[in-house]
Amino acid sequence: MAKIEVKNLKKSFDDLEVLKDINLEVEEGEVICVIGPSGSGKSTMLRCINALEESTGGTIIVDDNDITDKNGDIDLYRQNIGMVFQQFNLFPHKSVLENVMMAPVTLKLKTKEEAEETARNLLKRVGLAEKADSMPSELSGGQQQRVAIARALAMNPDVMLFDEPTSALDPEMVGEVLNVMKELAQEGMTMVVVTHEMGFAREVADRVIFIDDGFIVEEGPPQEVFNNPQNDRTKDFLNKVL
């Protein structure tokens, strides 16, 4: 059974059909990088997987939970799906430590003491142990994004979604975030990463997916997609970005 199963996913915004027919299976521990031109629907697809966008058609199953079921408990399903945003979206009124502790404590999954211990461990893991008491506004973009990863991991999710996690960063900070993600991948986390970092995709992804115009146009291991693309649109896109 695949960890994530997307079947005939469709998504429209009013008259604009962004996702036309997306089919995707992600196995446990697999790292998928989603690439494609802007406006192709790749972020929308990612946001459908944890129902931040409500899909218009099709089904999405994550860990046996039907995300598209309107009677399902989406709050519960989301606890198992971590998400990292382009703009970090840290809570500016809470310290770094409180950001990471907040969800497990609010949802009563952990006591304050347990949550704090987990949070400190996670911050150590992303290399920010000494920033626990800082406010988000005191951190660089790269540091904020690493806190955001720790915050998502604090819920101990089975799946992590990354929505262009390095696109809002200054170039010199991209590496530190990608390194954390690489470690996470090596530890066996199931990951779907929408990215423009072709180097990361080539090195870390098990499978690369090229989305254009609401369809998955091409997919395969990174060597194949990058070195020997079959589809003309993929070739065209890769020529522009590589």
Partner: protein, 219 residues
């Protein structure tokens, strides 16, 4: 008689007027806070009916003078129901409904000024909509709203003087009654004005202190 002697001579009446002004304002503000949060949340609700009700409430209150609202509640409603409210109750209702409508707009504006990504981040962690509201959105919204909230408190305090038209012996009405006896309208209105000014200046000072403290907390 000097202005100071006038003040001393009428001290008990003036203080009781000020007290009425302050407690009517405080009670009205407490009710308005509840109304403001409820109707403010309704204004941004995805439920059309709730949104509609809140919009109508805000439109009616903002679209009519407070003096008409006071007359309507004090004279208009008893005319139909036969039940007469005392001036204090009618005054508090008027002031609450009025401040509540403006607060609802403040709450709506405050919540909407928190970036959309904050709600998404909270929801993506598994928080319900109301948990995300109380943990993430409202604490940030209140900081943004704070100057406007103080401003609304000041406006409500001053608006309470309008309740003199329904015979509530708050500060303004007290001033009028005293002047009816001694005809010292120049000095008396200065005294009344200063008695409004002092609590308002204190309020402004408090809000500046809180604002400064919140700003430090944010950095």
């Amino acid at each position: 008689m000097s202005i100071f002697e006038l003040f001393i001579n009428n001290f008990p009446r003036l203080m009781s007027g000020l007290w009425v002004t302050i407690y009517v304002t405080l009670i009205a503000l407490a009710i308005a806070a509840v109304l403001g949060i409820c109707f403010g949340l309704m204004l941004i609700s995805s439920n059309r009916i709730l949104r509609g009700i809140a919009k109508v409430y805000v439109a009616i209150i903002r679209g009519t003078p407070i003096i008409v609202q006071a007359f309507f509640i004090y004279f208009g409603i008893p005319n139909v129901t036969g039940v007469r409210l005392d001036a204090t109750t009618a005054g508090i209702i008027t002031l609450s409904l009025n401040a509540g409508a403006y607060s609802a707009e403040l709450v709506r504006g405050g919540i909407q000024s928190v970036p959309k990504g904050q709600m998404e981040a909270a929801r993506s962690l598994g928080l319900s909509k109301s948990q995300a509201m109380t943990q993430v959105i409202l604490p940030q919204a209140i900081r943004i709203m704070l100057p406007s909230i103080v401003n609304q408190c000041i406006i409500t305090l001053k608006d309470s003087s309008i309740l003199s038209v329904i015979g509530l012996t708050e500060l303004t009405q007290t001033g009028r009654l005293i002047i009816a006896n001694n005809f010292e309208s120049f000095k008396m209105w200065i005294i009344v004005a200063i008695m409004y000014l002092i609590p308002i200046l204190i309020l402004t000072k408090i809000s500046q202190t809180i604002e400064k403290r919140l700003k430090i907390g944010k950095n």
